[in-house]
């Protein structure tokens, strides 16, 4: 058997070599805001564990470097990622001086680059395996469960990001639920308003260009400005419309954030509804008319199901975008994970930034995978049905 290089493997092996031997694995800081000192893998872990981790990394990189069976590459990436995830927690415990509650241990660039390299390998294997949508969601669930177990087991408790979490556990969940409510609530409102608006734009051609242009222009207003601009009109509504204040409508806080996200969400929903309906084959419509279907029956029985995957794509764009934009709501007192990000930037406490940024990225990522799977399933179902 001759060994041949895998092109991607060469890139991955080079990244791994740099990260494992030249970049710091963990950072030690005497307290949460002083500059850190770098620790390599062998310095950050007990001698045997450190050597074991290096061995795992080198073997996994070699498996990636040469053309090897997919199953082996899958195993290599999973084992390497699991070892890294487990041992960064061990490094946290090992580096924290006994009884010291001020010292902070955080993963350093080497750790993140190693995670990136092996995730790249895993992503490549998963892409080549061409998993079915359900299997992809399964992988997502398995990975989330593994991370959840690690969190519950407490093996990461000595890492700085979890120390920040321990100090704000209550507000973390409160802001988290605000974040999700903002992102999902504004999406729901945008779908309720955007779908009929899209259908109307599809039926009434004169409306189409006007509505889409207005929505396009709203998208060009920078998010922080739009959030700010809504403070005044909502403040006016709160003081002048009876009952509005009781509903929680206020100039600052959640209300302007909700309205801003709603306005940003409208364009993808309306535009994709229009595009989806326009893409319904004329033959399908003619057949429906020929069968004597009324306009309403045609809309719900023929046009809507056929346009559904395209509309769903719009919803995916909106959801991922909203989860990201909801971080900015914190600037106007709207809450969400952005609270930690901006507090962290203000105090130059990067662990606090991570506490806000990591859950946001994870949420957006999970939302994208789940909705992509749903889109693919509805699209294949359609193809099977029309075939």
């Amino acid at each position: 058997m001759t060994l041949r290089f895998d092109k991607l493997g060469v890139v991955i092996a080079a990244i791994v070599a740099y990260a494992a031997f030249a970049a710091p694995f963990a950072t030690f800081r005497a307290n949460r805001i002083v500059p850190g000192q770098a620790r390599s893998i062998l310095e950050a872990l007990p001698a045997t564990t450190g050597t074991l981790l290096l061995a795992i990394i080198v073997v996994a990189a070699l498996i990636a470097l040469f053309r090897t069976p997919l199953a082996l590459r899958l195993a290599a990436s999973v084992v390497a990622l699991a070892a890294l995830a487990l041992l960064i927690g061990v490094a946290g415990t090992f580096l924290t001086p006994a009884g010291n509650t001020f010292a902070r241990i955080s993963p350093a660039s080497g750790f993140w680059i190693l995670i990136f390299a092996f995730t790249l390998l895993l992503a490549d294997v998963l892409t080549r395996l061409n998993l079915s949508p359900l299997a992809r969601v399964g992988v997502l669930v398995a990975v989330s469960a593994a991370i959840g177990l690690l969190l519950i087991s407490g093996s990461w408790n000595d890492l700085s990001i979890l120390k920040e979490y321990a100090n704000r556990a209550d507000s973390f969940w409160a802001e988290g639920s605000k974040h999700v409510t903002l992102a999902l609530g504004s999406l729901a409102a945008a779908v309720i308003v955007g779908l009929p608006l899209g259908i109307l734009c599809h039926r009434v051609e004169r409306l189409r260009a006007g509505v889409l242009n207005v929505l396009n222009i709203i998208q060009t207003i920078p998010s922080i400005a739009l959030f700010g601009l809504l403070i005044a009109p909502l403040g006016w509504v709160a003081t002048h419309v009876p009952g509005a204040a009781a509903l929680g409508i206020r100039g600052i806080g959640t209300a302007p954030a909700f309205v801003a996200l709603f306005l940003y969400s409208l364009l993808p929903v309306v535009a994709n509804t229009v595009v989806g309906l326009a893409g319904v084959p004329r033959a399908a419509n003619d057949a429906a008319r020929g069968m004597g279907m009324t306009d309403r029956q045609r809309l719900f029985g023929v046009e809507f199901p056929l346009a559904f995957p395209v509309i769903l794509t719009g919803i995916r764009i909106v959801l991922v975008q909203n989860i990201g934009l909801a971080t900015i709501a914190a600037l106007i007192g709207g809450g969400g994970f952005g609270v930690f990000v901006f507090q962290g930037v203000g105090q130059t406490a990067m662990d606090l930034v991570l506490l806000g940024a990591v859950p946001t990225v994870a949420l957006a990522f999970a939302a994208a995978i789940i909705l992509d799977a749903v889109i693919e399933m509805t699209a294949t179902k359609r193809r099977v049905e029309t075939a």
């Binding site: 992503a123 892409t127 060009t220 922080i224």
Partner: protein, 249 residues
């Protein structure tokens, strides 16, 4: 609608924008009702013109860098030698799009410090994706007969790339650049949360001092820039598309 009306509106917008950033004082009476307690009406901690130019410069640098890298990557993965990277690069682009700009910005700060640098990194990363995706679409949907003809005429791989494939993909790549610029113009304002000198500074000053006039002027300048640049790039795109005989997106 008459054909000259959009051009006239655009011209009016340009004149208004230039007048506003060079002589904001003229517009003071218009914005006056938005302020309370005799707060300053026009941003007074720096010149609007300088901030606008710095904002544009940040976006320009990031877009140029993103264009070079994204197009180079797209060329690489569409060559036979790089074909192995194509599926992976597609999934990476998909994953990359789920990263919120604020998170990228905040996470870049520990690596490069406050100021313009983290903003440039965030804009660069965020700008990569639309350009890469469009360049990929452009290079993979070339009419097969044209590419075959170029091959038949004895062109080398490099000649085919520079004389046939890239010019034919230009309108679609431009479409990606247009998207990327519009996103960057808005995202650059968030850069001011990490002390970058952009128009976001005006908006954030407004948010902090509860001054609606500041928020409005900052927001409107950025929106006007985005609309004008979007229009300009669309026009260039249509022009190249007509020359190449391809439909722009």
């Amino acid at each position: 609608m008459k054909a000259w009306l959009p051009s006239l509106l655009r011209l009016a917008l340009v004149v208004l924008l230039v007048a506003f950033v060079t002589n904001p004082g003229w517009f003071e009476p218009l914005l006056k009702p938005l302020t309370e307690n005799n707060a300053p009406v026009i941003y007074n901690q720096g010149s609007l013109l300088t901030l606008t130019l710095l904002h544009l410069r940040t976006v320009l640098i990031a877009t140029i860098a993103a264009t070079i890298v994204a197009v180079a990557l797209a060329i690489l993965v569409t060559r036979p030698a790089g074909a192995e990277f194509l599926p992976l690069s597609r999934s990476l682009v998909n994953i990359g799009q789920t990263f919120p700009p604020v998170a990228v910005l905040a996470l870049a700060v520990p690596a490069v410090g406050f100021g313009e640098k983290p903003t440039l990194i965030a804009l660069f990363l965020y700008g990569l994706l639309p350009i890469f995706e469009n360049a990929l679409t452009g290079l993979t949907t070339l009419p097969a007969n044209v590419v075959e003809a170029a091959r038949g005429a004895g062109m080398t791989g490099w000649q085919r790339l520079t004389k046939v494939e890239l010019p034919l993909s230009a309108p679609i790549i431009l479409g990606g650049i247009r998207l990327s610029v519009v996103i960057s113009l808005a995202t650059a304002t968030i850069g001011s949360t990490v002390a970058a000198k952009t128009l976001g500074e005006v908006i954030i000053a407004g948010l902090l001092s509860n001054n609606l006039a500041f928020i409005l002027q900052g927001g409107l300048i950025v929106a006007a820039l985005a609309v004008l640049i979007y229009d300009g790039l669309s026009a260039i795109e249509r022009y190249t598309a007509r020359r190449m005989g391809r439909e722009a997106e």
